[in-house]
Symmetry: C2
Subunit: 302 residues, 2 copies
Amino acid sequence: MEAQFLQWLYERLPPHRHLKIGAGDDAAVIAGLSSRGTVITTDLVSDGVDFRLGEVDPRRVGRKALAVNLSDLAAMAAKPQAVVVAIALPRLGTEEALALAIALYEGMLPLSEELDVPIVGGDTNTHDGPLVLCGTAIGAVSERGPLTRHGGRAGDRLLVTGTLGGSLAGHHLDFMPRVREALLLHESYEIHAGMDISDGLALDASRLAESSGCGAVLDVDRVPISDAARNMAEPLQRALGDGEDFELLLAVAPGEAARLLDNPPVACGLTDVGELISTAGLWQRETSGEVTPLEPSGWLHR
Amino acid sequence: MEAQFLQWLYERLPPHRHLKIGAGDDAAVIAGLSSRGTVITTDLVSDGVDFRLGEVDPRRVGRKALAVNLSDLAAMAAKPQAVVVAIALPRLGTEEALALAIALYEGMLPLSEELDVPIVGGDTNTHDGPLVLCGTAIGAVSERGPLTRHGGRAGDRLLVTGTLGGSLAGHHLDFMPRVREALLLHESYEIHAGMDISDGLALDASRLAESSGCGAVLDVDRVPISDAARNMAEPLQRALGDGEDFELLLAVAPGEAARLLDNPPVACGLTDVGELISTAGLWQRETSGEVTPLEPSGWLHR
């Protein structure tokens, strides 16, 4: 299986200007990276936890394994440079295993091309367990430095890209990591702090606030709720608590936020959902103005 | 479990000069890498295939997950810069899961320190399967450039570090990746080609030869056989065919090889086991001088 698969793969991995030595040696060699620093992140997804192989096209699974890592680069506003992917296939017949490995890559390769980040290495084997994919992405720190969670200030507006909630209906497999949006926003605007929303807006807003030595108030009536969440019970709770939105959460000074919202530079939408405050904790504000504590009950990793 | 584990871990991850932003943000940021290029490699190990968790100390498992990746950097004679590790734990009770995650890191941290390569990020979760660890290592290309498989020439001697065979008796868990040896040899001597022996000398020698457009003859009576293999049936076959030696295989011009062997600069030993020839294929030469085809029947990845 491995030899057949590698032959298939080597024919489809396009050359890339970042790549000096590609597949076929002990490791890949990529061109020198930014002297400003390199962002590195790894994420593992597994059948039964992060997807259900029996219920979805494996192309979407491969795509997700790549996308979650690229979302972490977006969270740091880093420019993707290269990814490697290790795959543990479940024990299957040779033909079936080959078809699965190929389908996973058929999901990864188009996203890799779209975001101009080469898959430079991998490790595809079989093991006594469910399908596991482990991606690692490296990116170049931008001229402005990395976008971190800790630069927010009391008074900053909290902005989110896209819409939130109901990811399990499909978005968690098909989302587009906000790589371009993060680079554009970080380059052209003064963003104090940022992250990707992977565990739900409430929990992740509380994390960003805490990292910045602040609290956060969410204007819950303004939270942009996805169509998927609107079709579920308690749409707002889904938008606040569901995981895997993979949208950006940004802390921006009020004037800069107004400039951004007046003429949003990103097609995915940008919504003001609240602000950082000097009082620690997470709070919600209703349209009436009433402020009450909000439980940061996001999707905790099991 | 995750919060407790991360608290434990963050207290034990030492600061490192390579690290600009460590654990706690969306991704790690390491200092700018060599302009000569960056080596990147990933390897996944899984319970039941690469180790048996019920039979070994999990510290040795964690150590192996790190060591196999560092061996791939050694294979390219790259200087380790950083590693990230994703772990999928089997479903266990909270206490047991915490103890396992800690033990895995207790195996990784000393090796990380010994070889001066920081663990800069990770992803530790639980899934519906056996223990899986996926490491990714990045390294800086040395001043001489990467050590590749394709620079060998007919007439080159084939040298190996250490001794070979019988790795399953314990070496596959406890080996020291030949990072320092590779750097020293590549820096001070003219090594035409090199790799790490992960699938057995016979198979890997045939690969190095093929990548270099050559064939290879192994002087089978000279192959350094490990004590572990000597205690097994057919020691030579084990030294030729067992996987996971993680020693270096190097192709070196005869004069340079003589200089190396006269006064070996590495404590692990260095043995001349054959040569590259212009005729394709893998061959064995007995002490009598008789040359016959040798099946490259190494340990093929399942």
